[in-house]
Symmetry: C2
């Protein structure tokens, strides 16, 4: 039942945004009775939090392309695609995080988990000798992904896949070229 309900939450969120998300619409779309939804998830905010927690339970891991640059390009393409999808569940969840503290906390936990999992690509690059040991994986991932999120979410301007690729390359080259002591 949980997966059907969460699929309905995702679809409603994508179509109508957080403001248009209602327990009744989720009930109709999922075929689960509204009384059951209220009992288990309590509110629209509870549904959103559970959607993000389910995301943290999944088997997602970053692609292993064999190079730091390739791995970062794959990450940035995933981010760029998620943020430019029409409709975009990711954009709807981000908007929701500015509405309720519960959504903000759930999104912080979700991303914390995703960035931790993505750090494996930095460890692989260190093992291959592409990066100096001691590189701060999170700061490297911020260098690659931060410009994509900033442009598409906060500045609300376009960013092509090619530009997202370039930001991945900048991050790979900057961190590969630096001595560890010079890095954030």
């Amino acid at each position: 039942m949980r997966s059907e309900v969460l699929a309905a939450v995702e679809a409603e969120l994508a179509e109508h945004g957080y403001d248009g998300l209602t327990i009744d619409a989720v009930a109709v779309r999922s075929g689960v009775h509204r009384t059951t939804l209220y009992r288990r998830w309590k509110s629209v905010s509870g549904l959103l939090v559970d959607l993000l927690e389910a995301g943290a339970d999944d088997a997602w891991e970053p692609a292993d392309t064999g190079s730091l640059e390739g791995d970062l390009i794959a990450v940035n393409r995933e981010v760029q695609a998620a943020l430019t999808a029409r409709p975009s569940v990711t954009q709807a969840v981000i908007a929701a995080s500015f509405r309720t503290p519960e959504a903000a906390e759930a999104l912080t936990r979700f991303w914390d988990d995703r960035y931790r999992r993505t750090a494996v690509l930095v460890a692989r690059a260190v093992d291959r000798g592409e990066l100096p040991a001691g590189v701060d994986a999170h700061q490297l991932l911020l260098t690659a992904t931060g410009p994509v999120y900033h442009q598409l979410v906060l500045l609300r301007q376009p960013m092509s896949r090619a530009q997202a690729d370039h930001h991945a390359r900048i991050a790979a080259k900057a961190f590969a070229a630096a001595r560890a002591a010079d890095l954030p």
Copy 2:
């Protein structure tokens, strides 16, 4: 009158956030009658939009430190300070941009203007021979500022001034080292 009203909007926004911003509170704080506020600004959203438009009218320009790296560090320090101020007007305005389309559009125009003005530091670096001609100033500024915004606004995690400095250095070095054809 406008500057007194907007100073009151800024103070109320910083203290109570967009959800706590009311015409009545702005009237009390500014000493301007609520009827006047309603006539000229129509709504809370109208006050916020005017605050951002006033920001686009000001004389702000980026510091001229004599080097690309120094200029970018100054920009990133300003961003980091604005986002970590307690209370932060910038964070409140960003949150408001996810509440009303008018606020989102006003913030997009405000940042568009700020990034355009900041591009002068890239032109200066090209003139000094620090950067190849044809560099995309906006992509360079995104490389520096994007990680700071992403970490402090969307990921809701700390970023020190030293880390913000490092992201400025990464941007300066990456764009100075590249041939123009390799850049986003």
